[in-house]
Structure formats: C-alpha cells, structure tokens
C-alpha cells in the first residue's frame, strides 16, 4: 500500500526477463548460447530457442513460487502469535500447505504496510493519556469522533432496554424475534430498519433530499459497502478514477479481493485540492491508453482527507462526465452529517432529484461510523438508484450483515428524530469549535490548513519543515513527528497526494486541554527544523 505501487502486483508472476537485462543466473546461461547462435542460423536456433525458453520458464517458476512459501515470513509470524505450548507443531516449511496469491500478498510482515497503518499500530502500543501516560503517543491519525459520544451514551442509558425489547413490553425480553433468521440485507423487519435509516439520512442532509428505504442495502460497516459495490460495478482488473488525495483504506478495501485498480486523479493545493472535470478527462484518456477499462468515478464528499465539499456545478459536471463515458459514479458521503463550515453540503442525491437524468449509474456510500460515532456497531449503507445493483448487493450483503440486536437498537434510536436533530446540531457545533481551535493553534506554528468544511481533520501544509521536497522527505518528517513529537498523523503519501509535505491531522480524538500539548509537541520538531536551517 505504498504510494504508486500496488502491493498486489508483487504477488503476481513476474514476466520472464529478456536476455539483455543484467541478471546473474540468466546471463550465465544465456551468454554462451548467444555466442553459439551468432554465427549460425536456422537449425541451431530451432534447437536453442526451446532450451532458452526452458531456462526462462525455470526462473519464472522460481520467482512465482517464492512469495507463497516463504518460511521466514511464517517463522516470524509464529514467534509473535503462538505461545510455546502450542508451537510444537510449527515444524519445517514443508508442513505448510500453500495459501492463495491473495493471502500471500498480505500475510507478509508489517513493513509492507503503508505508514497509515504503521502509525496506528505504534500509537496503539503507547497511547497518550493526560494523567496516566502523559508522554504517550497522541493519536491524530484516526478519523473517529469522540466529541459527542456522551450524547449517544445518554440516549442509550435511557432507552436501550426498551429499544431491545421492542413492542412486547409485557412479554419481557423477547429474543425470538431478535434472534431468528432474516433476509440477509435487512433485519427483524426489514422495512422498519431501512425506514429508520432512510429517515436518518434525510435528517443528516437537513431535509434537502428524501431517501427511499427500498434503495438501501445494509452492510456491516462502510468498508464492506464499498467492497460490495466494487464487486458489482467492475470486473477484476478494471479501474475506478479517484481524485487524490484519497482515504488510504480504499487501497485495501477495493484493490484487495475485488481486484479493481484505483487510478488517482491528482488534485492540487492551488485549487484547494478540488478536482476538475478536465483532470478526470485526462485521467480517463490515460487509463484507456494503458489498456485499463474504467468502470466508475469514486469521490468522497465531504472529502477525506481534505474536508472540502464538492459544489453543485462540479456535481453536475461529474454527472455529465459519467453519463458521456457510460460509467458509474460512487459518492462516499459518510461525513455528510459532520460539516462544520459555513458552506452547505450538497449530496449527489439532491442534484439527481432536481434533474431528469439517468440515475441508474449513481450509488452512494453511507454509514453510522462517522456521523453517529458508532463504528463498533458496524452499520454501513449502499444507496443505489440501480435495481440490478440493489439485487446483487443485497445478496452479497449476506457476507457482511448487520447484527440483529444492533438493528433493533437502531430502529429505536434513528426514529427518535428529536434526539437525532439535537445530536446532529450539537455535534456540528462541537466539531466547529474544535476545528477552529486546532486551526488557530497550528497557525501559531506557521502551519496552514487547507480550506475545509467537513470531516474530522485538518489537511495541513508542513512542506516548509521537510528537508528534501519529496516523498522521502515527507516520510522523514512523519517519522520525526511520531518518534520525537510523539504524535501520530497521516502523511499525504499514504493518501496518494502528489505534493509532498501535506498531512492529515484529526482533531476529534482530543479534548480542548490536549491542544496546547499537541502544539508543544509539534513545536519540538518545527523548532528543531528552524534551528538547523
């Protein structure tokens, strides 16, 4: 998952090297052959070529085999997981039956992971706490909203028991309805949950658009939602155009099992990282030249990691573009309820409502992890205008279904529209406050943020603090921030940003009191940079 290269590719067989490349064993075989061939023709070539091919085949097979049966990988993995008593069985690699290529690509040690995951891990190992661990790593790399959890908890404490019992209060806890099988894309009563979710989405979009419950497929989180859509809209090896920088998780969620390529469409700071239709056109043409079949454009709105909103004109342009190319549009609107700026959020659904367009190419991803701060409950939404997609997705959702007690809880919570509207309002206020405080504090250090109206983060320019204006320079700065300042931030390279030096800092996992600590920590790095330059 490093920038540019596709981790998947490493597990695919390499093409056999032609003899001209300098390559130890190959050269030792080929050079003498070439020497022999030069002076002769026909018959000799006819017998030597098969020999050469045979040698290349051997090399090809050797390379192809090695990622799967790497004994050192399994040995290191076993050391970290298995207690001694159970490791008696960890004998020679010959006892290891091979795994699939897909698995082999991922079972390698952690240094293959992107910095995004590496940072999360290091933070988890030494987490900051104001009193218990004041020198720990401060987490600014996780887009989780902890600012309004108290509101959700309050509601649950008051209402959870009733929420789980449902209608039959006299009967007491009724597990029967809760526990038994249901259609996999739905609930105890499918209509009840999708109604509640549709209503919630409408409230999130502040009434500008109403959502149809029958166009909803529920999944265990937004992660499977985007994967299922990928399986439905594209075949292996096809591609999505994705304005970059983009959410690092998509590299795993989309490329891994559905094997869809992501073609970044780079955006620039001069445009505040907004994408243009012209850039999409260029990327589309280039992809075509490379022989890639583009099946969709994937955007996030509000954007992750920048936090900017896509305006109406661009949405119209986007719809025209995908219609002209006859491809799909996926709009990940998971932060729609988490806006904190003055600009009004416009969902692609709103634009579609107003126009007589062919909607069957538009799909929205949503979920409760961000706007409702409940990532643990695993509730994601595919909202599609395409009946065939809904059919296929609802069947695929069986592999990623939402737990029944959670569904039951949601029906209650989401139908409490008064609570929801109060929650959304208060949450937005708190987000706005923290955002402003963070931005102002960072300014003190000379760090500027990109314009942002939504999401849980600031997209900041720290390029003046990196030594060499390159991905490597950025990585060094990221490392300094993690090891010296002990703050975990997400480097732009993990998000496929083409301009080095940009970082994503999340402000929703801290309290106001933490801000001066964060600034003081970051100052260690910015000051030391200033002093040595």
């Amino acid at each position: 998952m490093t920038r540019g290269s596709d981790g998947e590719k490493r597990s695919r067989p390499h093409q056999p090297h032609p003899p001209s490349r300098s390559n130890g064993p190959a050269m030792r075989i080929v050079v003498p052959l070439q020497g022999v061939v030069q002076g002769r023709g026909g018959l000799v070539l006819g017998s030597l070529l098969p020999c050469a091919l045979f040698y290349f085949l051997q090399l090809y097979l050797k390379r192809h085999r090695s990622p799967k049966n790497d004994p050192s990988a399994s040995a290191s993995a076993s050391a970290s997981i298995i207690p001694r008593t159970l490791s008696r069985g960890q004998l020679s690699p010959r006892a290891q039956p091979p795994l699939s290529a897909r698995a082999a690509a991922l079972a390698r040690p952690d240094d293959d992971d992107s910095l995004y995951y590496a940072g999360l891990r290091r933070c988890a190992a030494d987490p900051y706490h104001p009193t218990r661990n004041p020198d720990g790593v401060i987490q600014l790399g996780l887009a989780e909203n902890q600012l309004s959890l108290d509101l959700v908890q309050e509601w649950l404490v008051k209402n959870a028991k009733e929420a789980l019992l449902g209608e039959d209060k006299e009967e007491g806890l009724n597990i029967r309805g809760l526990a038994t099988y249901q259609p996999f894309d739905g609930s105890i009563d499918l209509k009840m949950v999708t109604n509640a979710v549709a209503g919630f989405m409408g409230q999130v979009m502040r009434g500008s658009v109403s959502f149809n419950p029958s166009q909803i497929v529920l999944t265990s989180g937004a992660t499977p939602a985007i994967e299922i859509l990928s399986f439905c809209l594209a075949d292996t090896g096809n591609a999505f155009l994705v304005p970059s920088p983009y959410y690092p998780g998509w590299d795993r969620d989309i490329k891994w099992r559905s094997r869809v390529e992501l073609v970044p469409v780079p955006c620039r700071s001069t445009d505040n990282f907004s994408f243009s239709i012209a850039a999409l056109e260029r990327a589309y043409t280039q992809a075509k030249k490379r022989g890639l079949k583009v099946r969709a454009v994937l955007i996030s709105n509000p954007s992750n990691p920048v936090g900017n909103l896509v305006n109406k004109e661009t949405l119209y342009g986007l719809l025209e573009f995908v219609t002209e190319k006859n491809i799909h549009l996926i709009s990940d609107e998971i932060f729609a309820g988490s806006t904190h700026g003055k600009t009004k959020f416009v969902s692609v659904a709103e634009v579609l409502d107003a126009e007589a367009l062919d909607k069957s190419r538009v799909h929205i991803i949503y979920g409760l992890s961000k706007d409702l701060s409940l990532p643990g409950f695993r509730v994601g939404v595919i909202y599609s205008y395409n009946e065939n997609v809904l059919n296929a997705a609802s069947k695929l959702a069986r592999f990623s279904s939402v737990s029944a007690p959670t569904q039951r809880l949601l029906v209650s919570m989401l139908s409490d529209s008064m609570f929801i509207s109060e929650y959304l309002e208060t949450n937005r206020e708190r987000l706005q406050r923290m955002y402003r405080l963070f931005v102002d504090a960072l300014k003190q250090l000379g760090i500027e943020c990109a314009g942002s109206s939504g999401g849980f983060y600031c997209w900041v320019d720290m390029s003046k603090f990196i030594q060499s204006y390159s991905e490597k320079g950025e990585q060094k700065l990221w490392d300094k921030l993690l090891t010296i300042a002990k703050v975990n931030v997400t480097p732009g390279s993990s998000c496929h940003c083409i301009e080095p030096g940009w970082f994503r800092l999340c402000f929703t996992t801290s309290t106001e009191k933490d801000i001066p600590v964060v600034i003081q920590r970051i100052r260690k790095v910015t000051e030391s940079h200033r002093m040595s330059h």
Partner: protein
C-alpha cells in the same frame, strides 16, 4: 424509485451471474413459504417451513439468562466502557469475547480439545467465515473437494465472489453416505483431469444435510489424505453443539491434539452461534486455524465482516458463564433428542425411513419409494407436489448434490411442537393417499 433498469450502464460479471443460486429449488421453497406462511390461527392451511435449519427449541433458556443478567446489555457502566464499545472496531475482536468463544467451544467438545483465544478470528456469521477461508486458501479456478450431499448454500458462499470451484466427493447410501478413501481419490482425480488445482477438503461435521457426526476413523483418513496431497482441511463444525445421541461427536481438533499438533497447519475449523445457540440474527461466526499466516490474514480480511461490538459485549459474559453454558448445552441436547425421536416416530408411522441420525436440526429422509421414476426430475416433481399440495417446504436432495434421487432434508427444530404435529399429520395423510394416486404425479 426510478424504474430505469441499468441496460445502458454495465455491471460486473459477478453482479449479473446467477452463482448466487437463488433460483434453485432450495430457495424457491423459501419464497413459496414467504408468500403463504403457516400460522396455527391465521393461516392453518399455509405452507409449513421445514427447509430452514434453525434452532428454536431452547430460546427460553437464553431469554431467562439475559433477564437475570442485565449487566450484559447495560450501557450505564461509565463513559469509558461505553466509549470503548462504541468505537471498538479492532479486527482482533474483544478479548473477553474470544476467550468466551474458546471456552464455549471447549465445553461443547466435553473438554477433549483446547482452543487458544488468539487463534480465534471473528466474522459476521459462518457464511462469511467459509467465504473468507476460501479466499485465503484458494485462487480463482482452483477447487475445493466437498462430500455430497452438502449444504446448498456452499455453491454460492464458496464460489460466487471467489471464483473457486467445488468438486463433489460422491457418497451414497450403501454405507450411510460416509466418505471413503476411494471417493476422495476419485474426486481429486476428477479435479486434476479438469486442470483444477485442488486446495482443500471442506467437511461439515456433524453433516448438513445428513444429521450425522463423522466417525473418528473417517476423520483420520481424511486428515491423512489432506496431508498426503499437501492440501487444507476445513472442518465446518457449526452443529457440534447439537449432537444428541451416540456416537459421540469427534472434532478434528481432538485428532490434531492427539497427533501432538504435527502437520496441523492445514487444519481450520469454522464455528458459529447460529445453530447451537439459535442466534443466527446475531451474526457471530468464527474461524479457528492452526496456521499462523491464515490467522493473520483472516483477521485482516475480517474487516469486511466484523461482529458488532454491541453483540460481542452482550454475549461475552453469557458465554463465559460456565455453569450456564454447561446447563444450556445439556438441556439443548435433550430437547433436540426428544424432537428428533418425535419426528422419526411420526415419519415411521407414515412409512418413511430416515438415515440414522444423531445430530443437527434435521432428518435425512428417504422418499425414494414414492418416486415414480428414480431420477432427479422425478424427485423434483415430488418436491413440487409436496410443496404445493401437502404445503410443506422440504429440501430436495438434488439441491444438496446428492447422487441418489429421492432423499430429502426435513428440519424439525424451527417450529413449535404443535406445528410439527400438524406437519406430520399432513405427511401421514399424503403417504396414505399417494399409495393410490402415484400415477397422477406428473
């Protein structure tokens, strides 16, 4: 909704294929039931669902427990514990819950095998667990060998997105449908001939749809076969807690331990709470693997199918309550046994024989004598007749890939005793009639 069907914009092959198999009789019966479901009061002539392997006989035990232990679903334990739960999306899963699962799995096996909580990977149901393992152990075009008859859902769950093939290991009634070495070798050879790389054997133990626990000797043979061919063995033990008569259930975990964990990196167990606890809606499944790389990979891949933290929290305390789980397992077994005996008697009265079963939530019954022609078509005609005339949804053996026509799976635990009684009466009436009107089945 806009009724424009996506003619103009293309979907993927996966979206448009029918590998989901929902056009098969197995699912068609469900549809018929959905349209006209039996209800003792409101719809006494409706279709009785006997094609759904669900356990409803022991709900009251769970309800009682949860009522007596409200702390399981209590959110008032302070903001920090709520915060942890609401935000928890770690694919390692709650440690307390994994420990509880491991302990529960040990109890089911009467302490004859140990389970390490760190080898447990949680998934949203066994469906997801089986698909995940397939993604990890096999590449598109490869093959998994599965003994027939097998659970119809496998055709979809193991093949649809993975692109992996199923090659059947043919079993027949001559030996009670047990797997033989000959059948294993034949299946392997068939896959090879079709140029499919065999990656593993997937066994359901106890078997669905047979309702029998696999004999120890057969398990040993299968494990040896897997070792010889250097392939994997997936043991889906989802019905392990529903063994109600002898012979005792033997888990592949016991055999692995007995062999001192030698050569066990090829063994993986799938489990779930859907059958034994009767909680399919909770979506709790697990992969237990003796292979570290599989554990690591499965854990990461489980991001696509995490178990709700709320559910983990709710069930963790219940499953770690050993007194309760012992009691539950014992009582559930007794009740299943009684149900089984009841249905067997009822079927005997109607002149129908079943395979001698000792586990699961269903019987494997032989309606061969009622077929006017011993073919798949004959079986399907009989199935349709039973669905539309007798108003019972049962599962035809052909949808389970059974090589002998005439076998049907009939579930007995997903309804009240009264409903079962009604069903058995209908069957009795039908068999009496059909002795005389066999020729009219067309």
């Amino acid at each position: 909704m806009n009724k424009v069907v996506g003619h103009r914009v293309e979907l993927s092959e996966i979206a448009t294929s029918n590998t989901h198999g929902e056009d098969s009789p197995y699912f068609a019966g469900w549809k018929a039931y959905d349209e006209d479901p039996y209800d003792p009061v409101n719809n006494p002539s409706g279709v009785i669902q006997m094609g759904l392997a669900e356990n409803q006989v022991s709900f009251d035990l769970l309800e009682d427990y949860l009522e007596q232990h409200p702390e399981a679903s209590n959110w008032g334990n302070g903001i920090s514990s709520f915060r942890e739960n609401a935000l928890f999306q770690d694919y390692h899963g709650l440690k307390t819950f994994r420990k509880a699962m491991a302990s529960f799995m040990e109890q089911i096996r009467g302490g004859k095998a140990k389970f390490d909580p760190d080898r447990i990977v949680l998934t949203a149901g066994a469906t997801a667990a089986n698909e995940l393992l397939t993604f990890i152990l096999a590449d598109p075009g490869d093959a998994l060998l599965i003994p027939t008859p097998y659970y119809p859902g496998f055709d979809r769950d193991l093949r649809w997105r993975t692109g992996v093939n199923i090659v059947p290991i043919r079993c027949d009634s001559s030996n009670g449908f047990q797997v033989t070495l000959k059948a294993l070798e034949a299946a392997y050879a068939k896959a090879e001939a079709a140029e499919m790389k065999v990656r593993g054997v997937l066994l359901t133990n106890p078997s669905n749809p047979l309702g029998t626990a696999v004999a120890r000797a057969v398990l040993e043979d299968i494990l040896d076969f897997a070792a010889r061919k250097d392939i994997h063995l997936i043991s889906d033990e989802i019905y392990s807690g529903s063994v109600f008569a002898s012979p005792e259930f033997v888990s592949v975990a016991e055999i692995v331990e007995a062999r001192g964990y030698r050569n066990c990196e090829r063994v993986h167990i799938v489990y779930s709470l859907s059958k034994d606890l009767g909680l399919p809606g909770f979506r709790v499944g697990t992969i237990y693997s003796y292979n570290n790389r599989v554990v690591t990979t499965a854990r990461r891949m489980s991001s696509f199918t995490l178990v709700s933290s709320q559910t983990q929290k709710t069930l963790a305390s219940m499953l770690s309550d050993e007194e309760f789980t012992k009691y539950y397992i014992r009582t559930n077994r007794e009740r299943l046994k009684r149900r089984y005996e009841y249905i067997i008697q009822g079927l005997e009265r109607a002149g129908i024989e079943c395979l001698q079963g000792n586990a699961g939530l269903f019987c494997w019954m032989n309606l061969g004598p009622l077929l006017e022609e011993q073919t798949r078509e004959g079986e399907l005609r009989l199935w349709k007749l039973i669905l539309h005339e007798v108003r019972l949804n049962i599962s035809p053996g052909s949808s389970c890939h059974c090589s002998e026509p005439g076998w049907f799976r009939v579930c007995f635990a997903n309804m009240s005793l009264h409903t079962l009684e009604v069903a058995l009466t209908r069957i009795y009436d039908f068999t009496q009639k059909s002795k005389t009107i066999k020729s009219l089945i067309n």
